[in-house]
């Protein structure tokens, strides 16, 4: 029998109807997550849970209570559902990978950096303190340059993992694992002795063997020396930006071709950008002719676009599976080396995707990223070292007794509609992030709430009687010598034993032995 232990915000709960835990790594393109369903008769759990409460789930076979920690995460949604006499509350949330998904990276550029150092630096810069980096392994990849412009940390880590041939996930102890693919074997073999149900899918979906990577476009200065030939139209080598024309050493005034039927007076030349043409103005309506004389020197200075574009082809894959293009448009790519790195990584996916889903009998300790061997001769399947993408646990009263709580997904994730939506979202992000620069000056507004409350915690009014040991000048009670009063007036006091009013030199004369008695008090008790 499978035993579980569930704690939420430090309190143990054992009355859940169903508990689903999905532990996965980045190759599954999602975070680990959980879903808990409780019965809620008469509002039993009406005030037990809050958004942000930490959820810890343990599970073991034949150990009660369970001690193996499967999952640590945070409640992100609480949903009550009631109908007639039935009430339920459903809790859902993700593991600490949600920190990586919820927080974006402020614009930054890393140059000549080894990938694991980029990973740790991103976490430090984002001030994420509840995720440790003990298992961030050093890679053999040093990137010449990579930039991130306000994209989620998760997307950045996914990109870095792909470039390094690594995968990552956050374990139940909130430690980030950034490890080499297929590096850790579980030593397990799944076959018809322990597989209850299997789906084995091979598909062209997601693969690409002809890849284009479009990065940013840079402007670079260029100069052409032309010589007049009697004509008014000159064709330039490139499409010109920021054109500056000198004729016989004198700068000329320019305009845009076809902007007006007759150019503004004083215009010497027109630029037809897409035709790469420099057209000198002349004509009856204009009233003058700017065409260079034959042999006249025309110096054209302009900026030309140099695009960062890389194209890669996997010929063997095309021969077997047919051509399948993939276009990547990412304006944040601003150097050829980064474009090349991304191109190579994309061409690693030039073969059809194989995805497997196994429902297992029994209890196994499995971690995403570990490899397993699997054999199913009826499906023509005999594979070794298949990486685990995701391990799903479904705990309810039936599965824990029957020991069929585990569903494992292997190898490659078959792309579905949600992946396409995520991909579209990433493309939009890439387009929108083009103008975000690490050198931008940012005006920041930070709001927070603090408090400082000064409370008068306690006060006392105390009195004490001075009878018995006193000689007070001018006092009708204590200033008498026989029947006469010594001294007079209100400012001349001399009181035996008083700390301030009985000083002779630096010594106190006499002593008051009575103690103060509180006659009034107030404020808060503390």
């Amino acid at each position: 029998m499978i035993n579980t232990l569930l704690t939420i915000a430090g309190t143990t709960y054992d009355d859940f109807i169903q508990m689903k835990v999905d532990v996965s790594n980045d190759e599954y393109l999602t975070s680990s997550e959980f879903k808990l369903i409780f019965d809620n008769p008469f509002g039993r759990h009406s005030s037990h849970f809050s958004i942000g409460d930490e959820v810890i789930i343990y599970a073991d076979k034949d150990t009660d209570p369970a001690t193996t920690k499967l999952f640590t995460g945070i409640i992100e949604e609480i949903r009550f559902d009631g109908r007639e006499n039935s009430q339920k509350v459903e809790l859902t949330g993700r593991d600490y990978t949600q920190r990586l998904m919820d927080i974006t990276i402020e614009p930054i550029v890393y140059t000549a950096s080894e990938i694991s150092t980029i990973i740790t630096n991103i976490l430090i810069n984002a001030n994420i303190t509840d995720i440790t980096t003990t298992n961030v392994n050093v890679t053999s990849t040093t990137l010449a340059r990579i930039s991130f412009n306000q994209i989620p940390i998760y997307d950045a880590f996914t990109q870095l993992a792909e470039l390094a041939g690594f995968y990552f996930y956050i374990d139940a102890d909130k430690d980030l694992h950034f490890e080499q693919k297929k590096n850790i074997s579980s030593g397990l073999t799944f076959d018809n002795t322990n597989i209850l149900e299997q789906t084995f899918d091979t598909t062209r979906k997601g693969m690409a063997n002809d890849v284009w990577v479009y990065g940013d476009r840079q402007l670079a200065g260029y100069k052409e020396q032309l010589s007049g030939d009697g004509g008014s139209v000159f064709t330039l080598i490139s499409k010109p930006h920021n054109t500056f024309i000198e004729y016989l050493g004198n700068p000329l005034r320019g305009a845009v071709y076809q902007m007006a039927t007759v150019p503004e007076s004083g215009t010497n030349y027109l630029i037809s950008y897409f035709d790469k043409q420099l057209i000198f103005a002349s004509g009856t309506d204009l009233g003058y002719d700017s065409t260079p004389i034959s042999g006249g020197s025309v110096l054209v200075t302009y900026d030309r676009e140099i695009p960062i574009v890389k194209h890669g082809v996997e010929r063997d894959s095309i021969a077997v599976y047919g051509q399948k293009n993939k276009i990547i448009n990412d304006k944040s790519i601003r150097d050829p080396q980064t474009a090349t790195d991304i191109l190579k990584q994309q061409l690693d996916n030039a073969d059809p995707y194989q995805g497997m889903v196994d429902d297992l009998k029994g209890w196994y300790t499995l971690l995403p990223g570990q490899t397993v061997n699997t054999t199913m001769s009826d499906f023509g399947l005999n594979s070794t070292e298949l990486p685990i993408l995701s391990v799903k646990y479904i705990f309810d009263k039936n599965t824990i007794y029957l020991e069929n709580v585990i569903r494992v997904k292997f190898n490659k994730k078959i792309k579905d509609l949600t992946d396409e939506l995520a991909k579209m979202n990433k493309r939009l992000d890439a387009i929108e992030s083009a103008d975000r620069q690490d050198t931008d000056i940012i005006t920041r507004l930070e709001q927070a709430t603090g408090s400082l409350l000064v409370v008068g915690s306690h006060w006392e009014v105390r009195t004490r009687n001075i009878a018995g040991l006193n000689l007070i000048l001018d006092s009708p009670s204590f200033g008498l010598l026989d029947t006469n009063t010594l001294a007079s007036g209100t400012t001349r006091s001399w009181v035996l034993g008083h700390s301030q009013s009985s000083i002779l030199g630096t010594s106190t004369l006499g002593q008051v032995t009575a103690t103060f008695i509180t006659v009034a008090s107030g404020g808060y008790s503390y």
Binding site: W459, E460, T490, S493, S501, Y524
Partner: protein
């Protein structure tokens, strides 16, 4: 306990600047019986003002304790209804930081007075 608005303003000033003598150094007593309000800036009827006895007590975190003593001559003939703490020394001058009122206590010249107050910052 009535910590006055002026006291709160003084705390705000204290957080942001270094203001000479802008801290509690004196205790005033009086015979006025008016209601204690946070808007009070003076005692209702001040009769005596003394410097604090010793230094403020900071031995407990986030707390400051004050003590003031008045001898029997100073108190003689006073019907005490109120006390307050201030930063300034001249009689009837300055704004009070704290004022408390209570039932009357009559002094006939045979008793001394001691006032102890602790303020806590939360």
């Amino acid at each position: 306990m009535a910590l006055t608005n002026y006291a709160k303003q003084a705390v705000a000033w204290g957080i942001g600047s270094d203001i000479t003598n802008n801290y509690i150094q004196y205790c005033a007593i009086g015979s006025g019986s008016g209601a204690v309000l946070a808007t009070d800036t003076t005692m209702v009827a001040e009769t005596q003002r003394n410097t604090l006895t010793g230094s403020p007590n900071f031995t407990e975190v986030r707390k400051v304790g004050f003590q003031a003593d008045f001898n029997s001559v100073e108190m003689s003939g006073t019907t005490l209804f109120e006390f307050g703490f201030l930063a300034s020394g001249p009689a009837l001058g300055g704004s009070i930081w704290q004022r408390e009122g209570f039932g009357s206590i009559v002094f006939d010249g045979t008793s001394e007075l001691q006032i102890v107050s602790t303020m806590e910052v939360l």
